[in-house]
C-alpha cells in the first residue's frame, strides 16, 4: 500500500519534473496568471536574453492593479499607469500571451477571473506575480505568489525552482453563527497565529465550517493565507467545486470533463496522512471580526475594545499601530466614526459578496458623511450584478458603483483615502498607507462594511439584520 498523502503532497509529487541532489525541485506550473505591475521587467528579461514564452497556452494576462475604475471609454490620465498598461499590451502581443483587456468580459482582478473563466482547476499548480494567488487554492490547487524574477522563470520555462514547504492543517470546527462568514474565519485565524504564523507552510483548511462555505467563501479564506505568512492555502475539492467549474469556458468539456473529474476525486488528503503542524478554531464561537491596527493580525471580535499595549505581548507594535490609527486603548471599536467604505478586492468582490452587502443596504441610505465605493472584481461579476439590479440598490443608497479592478485595495489608480480618513474595507491589507498615504483601514467582511456605511460608524451588522 502506498503511504497516505495530503492534498498538497499529491499535487507536489505530480508536478516535480526533476529533483537533483543539492538543488531545489523543478516544479511544473500548469497556470500562470500575469498582470501589468509585476510583469514588465520579466518580459524585458526575456527580450534581453532572446527567449520566448514556453507555454502561452498556459498563461493568461489581464489588467487590474493600476487601471481606473471610472469610465473605461476615457483614456487613462496617469501617464505612468497608461505606460504600464500599454506595455502589457505590447508584451502580450509580442510573446503571444492571451490578454483579457479592458472592456472584455474576462477582464478583472487576476484572482477573480481565473476561477470565473474556469482556468483554475483542482490539482493544478497556479502561480502569479502576486501574493494573493493562494486564492486559487480554494479549488484544491497548489497556488502561490511569486516575484518578478520567478515570473520570468515561468514565462521562459513553465517551471519554478522550489524547496518543499511544510504543511499545516487548519480546522474550523462547528457551524458558523448567523452573520459570521468566510472573512471572519480567516481574520480570526490570522489574529490567532499572527502575520508570520504560517511562514514556510502551506495551509490546508478543513472542518465543517469550511465544507459549508460556498466556493466564493472558500476563495475568501484561501485568499488571505499570505496575511498569516503562508504562501499557499488550499481546500480539498468536493461536489461544490465541480459544480462551480462545470460549463465554465476554460474548464474541460465532454469526455475531458469525465476524465478530469475522476482525477480530481483522488485529490483529497488520504486518511492517516500527517501534517507538520495543526491549528484548530471553534467556528461556532466566532463573532464578526475587525482589525484595529496596521497589520492583518491585529484583529478582534467586533464587540471587543481596542487592546491595551501595556498588557499585550506585542505591546511595542500595537502602540505604534494605535498611534498611526489614532485609536485609544480600551475604547470600544463599535461606534467609531468612519469616513469611507470600500467593498471590493480579490478577497471580497465576487457576486456573493456584492449580494451580501446589497442585502443590508437595500431600502436604506448610507450615512451622509460616508463615501462608499463598490467595485466588482471582474467585468463578468459586474454584468451579473447589473442583471440582478444590485447597482441600483447601491446607487439609490448613495454609494458609487465602479468598473472592475483592484481599486482602493492598493490605491495605485487614484481611488484612495485622504490622510487621516478611516475606512472600513473588505480588502486584505491594513498596512500604513495601503489605501492611500495616511489613510487608516479597518478590515472586515462585506456585511460589516455595509453596516458601517449605513450607520456611519463601526457597527455589528447583526443588529441591522432581520
Amino acid at each position: 500500500m502506498t503511504q497516505p498523502r495530503t492534498l498538497f503532497e499529491k499535487i507536489w509529487d505530480e508536478h516535480v519534473v526533476v529533483h537533483e541532489a543539492g538543488s531545489p525541485a523543478v516544479l511544473y506550473i500548469d497556470l500562470h496568471l500575469v498582470h501589468e505591475v509585476t510583469s514588465p521587467q520579466a518580459f524585458q528579461g526575456l527580450r534581453d536574453k532572446g527567449l520566448k514564452v514556453r507555454r502561452p497556452d498556459h498563461t493568461q494576462a489581464t489588467l487590474d492593479h493600476s487601471i481606473p475604475t471610472t469610465d473605461r471609454t476615457l483614456p487613462i490620465v496617469d501617464p505612468f499607469a497608461a505606460r504600464q498598461v500599454e506595455q502589457l499590451r505590447i508584451n502580450c502581443k509580442e510573446f503571444g500571451v492571451p490578454l483579457e483587456d479592458l472592456g472584455s468580459e474576462g477582464q478583472g482582478i487576476v484572482h477573480v477571473i481565473g476561477p470565473e473563466l474556469g482556468l483554475t482547476q483542482p490539482g493544478m499548480t497556479v502561480v502569479c506575480g502576486d501574493s494573493h494567488t493562494a486564492t486559487h487554492g480554494a479549488f484544491g490547487a497548489l497556488a502561490f505568489g511569486i516575484g518578478t524574477t520567478e515570473v520570468e522563470h515561468v514565462l521562459a520555462t513553465q517551471c519554478l525552482l522550489q524547496n518543499k514547504p511544510q504543511t499545516c492543517e487548519v480546522r474550523f470546527e462547528g457551524v458558523l453563527p448567523k452573520g459570521v462568514g468566510a472573512k471572519d474565519l480567516i481574520l480570526a485565524l490570522i489574529a490567532k497565529i499572527g502575520v508570520g504564523g504560517g511562514t514556510g507552510h502551506v495551509l490546508e483548511y478543513a472542518g465543517e465550517a469550511i465544507r459549508s462555505l460556498s466556493m466564493e467563501g472558500r476563495m475568501t479564506v484561501c485568499n488571505m493565507s499570505i496575511e498569516g505568512g503562508a504562501r499557499a492555502g488550499m481546500i480539498a475539492p468536493d461536489d461544490k467545486t465541480f459544480e462551480y467549474l462545470a460549463g465554465r469556458p476554460k474548464a474541460p468539456h465532454g469526455q475531458g470533463w469525465n476524465d478530469a473529474l475522476a482525477r480530481w476525486r483522488q485529490l483529497p488528503t488520504d486518511e492517516g496522512a500527517g501534517y507538520d503542524k495543526q491549528v484548530s478554531i471553534d467556528a461556532s464561537a466566532l463573532e464578526p471580526m475587525i482589525t484595529y491596527g496596521t497589520n492583518p493580525g491585529m484583529g478582534v471580535p467586533i464587540s471587543q475594545p481596542v487592546p491595551d499595549p501595556s498588557t499585550a505581548a506585542n505591546g511595542e507594535s500595537i502602540r505604534k499601530a494605535l498611534d498611526y490609527m489614532a485609536l485609544e486603548p480600551g475604547k470600544p471599536l463599535l461606534g467609531h466614526p468612519v469616513d469611507v467604505v470600500f467593498i471590493g478586492s480579490c478577497t471580497n468582490s465576487r457576486i456573493s459578496d456584492l449580494r451580501e452587502a446589497a442585502s443590508l443596504i437595500k431600502g436604506r441610505k448610507i450615512s451622509p458623511h460616508v463615501r462608499m465605493l463598490v467595485v466588482p472584481g471582474s467585468e463578468k461579476t459586474k454584468r451579473q450584478a447589473e442583471a440582478e439590479n444590485l447597482p441600483e440598490i447601491f446607487r439609490s443608497a448613495g454609494a458609487e458603483w465602479r468598473e472592475a479592478g483592484c481599486s482602493m485595495c492598493i490605491a495605485m489608480n487614484g481611488d484612495q483615502l485622504s490622510p487621516g480618513q478611516y475606512c472600513v474595507s473588505t480588502s486584505n491589507r491594513n498596512f500604513e498607507g495601503r489605501q492611500g498615504k495616511g489613510g487608516r483601514t479597518f478590515l472586515a467582511s462585506p456585511l460589516t462594511a455595509a453596516a458601517a456605511a449605513v450607520s456611519g460608524a463601526i457597527t455589528d451588522a447583526r443588529t441591522l439584520m432581520q
Binding site: G22, D57, T157, T199, K320, A411
Partner: protein, 201 residues
C-alpha cells in the same frame, strides 16, 4: 547578477517588527517598467515629510546611514505583497544584506534571486545587533558567505543558514534561470508524459 563572497561594511538598525513591503516601497511607486531608480523611494512614507523633504528623525536621513550596506531589522521582515520592487529598492539604496530573526517567504526568495543576502540570526544575537547598530557610533560587520558567518564588532562570529543551491548561485553570480533552461529536455519529457493533465487548458 553580481557575485557575493565576503564583504564588510556599515550596519544600521531599524528595530520595527513585521515591516511589510508596502512600507519598504509604497504601491504608487510600482507604476514603473524598470528595476532601477527605486532606491530614492525606499521607505518613502517613513522617510519624507508631506512637502517631500527628508524627515530628519528617520534613520535613512541621518549621517550614520550614509554608506550603510547592512540593514538590521525587526522580526518577520518583508511580509505582505510579493513585489520584487522591495529588494530592488533596498539594493538601489546600497544595501547588500538584511539581518533579522525571520523573513517572509516570498521576500526572502526575491532577495536571493537578486543578490541581496537575507541573514537570519538567533534572537540573542539579534537583540545585540539591534542595540549596537542602533547606537550613535556606526558599527562594521563582516559577512562571509562561503562560511555562512557574520563577524560581529566584538570579534565573535555568528553563523546563518542558507540553502545550498542559492549559496552556490550567489557565490558564482549565476542566474538561476540558466539552471532551469538546462532542464529543457526533462521539461519536454514531462509535458509529453503528462499530456492528459497538462492539456486540460
Amino acid at each position: 547578477m553580481q557575485a557575493i563572497n565576503t564583504f564588510s561594511g556599515k550596519a544600521i538598525a531599524l528595530p520595527v517588527k513585521d515591516i511589510d513591503t508596502d512600507q519598504i516601497i509604497p504601491a504608487r511607486f510600482l507604476k514603473t517598467v524598470d528595476k532601477q531608480g527605486l532606491g530614492k523611494n525606499l521607505f518613502n512614507d517613513w522617510r519624507y515629510l508631506e512637502d517631500g523633504s527628508p524627515k530628519p528623525t528617520f534613520l535613512l536621513n541621518q549621517p550614520r546611514a550614509e554608506g550603510a550596506v547592512i540593514l538590521v531589522a525587526g522580526d518577520n521582515f518583508g511580509c505582505g505583497s510579493s513585489r520584487e520592487h522591495a529588494p530592488w529598492a533596498l539594493m538601489g539604496f546600497g544595501f547588500r544584506a538584511v539581518i533579522s530573526t525571520s523573513f517572509a517567504d516570498i521576500f526572502q526568495i526575491n532577495c536571493l534571486k537578486n543578490g541581496l543576502l537575507p541573514i537570519i540570526v538567533d534572537e540573542a544575537t539579534h537583540v545585540d545587533l539591534l542595540a549596537s547598530a542602533g547606537g550613535d557610533e556606526p558599527i562594521e560587520l563582516e559577512v562571509d558567505l562561503p562560511n555562512q558567518a557574520v563577524r560581529l564588532p566584538d570579534g565573535r562570529t555568528t553563523s546563518f543558514p542558507i540553502d545550498a543551491f542559492s549559496k552556490k548561485c550567489l557565490l558564482a553570480g549565476m542566474d538561476q534561470l540558466d539552471y532551469l533552461l538546462n532542464q529543457d529536455a526533462a521539461v519536454s519529457m514531462y509535458e509529453a508524459s503528462h499530456r492528459d493533465r497538462v492539456s486540460t487548458l
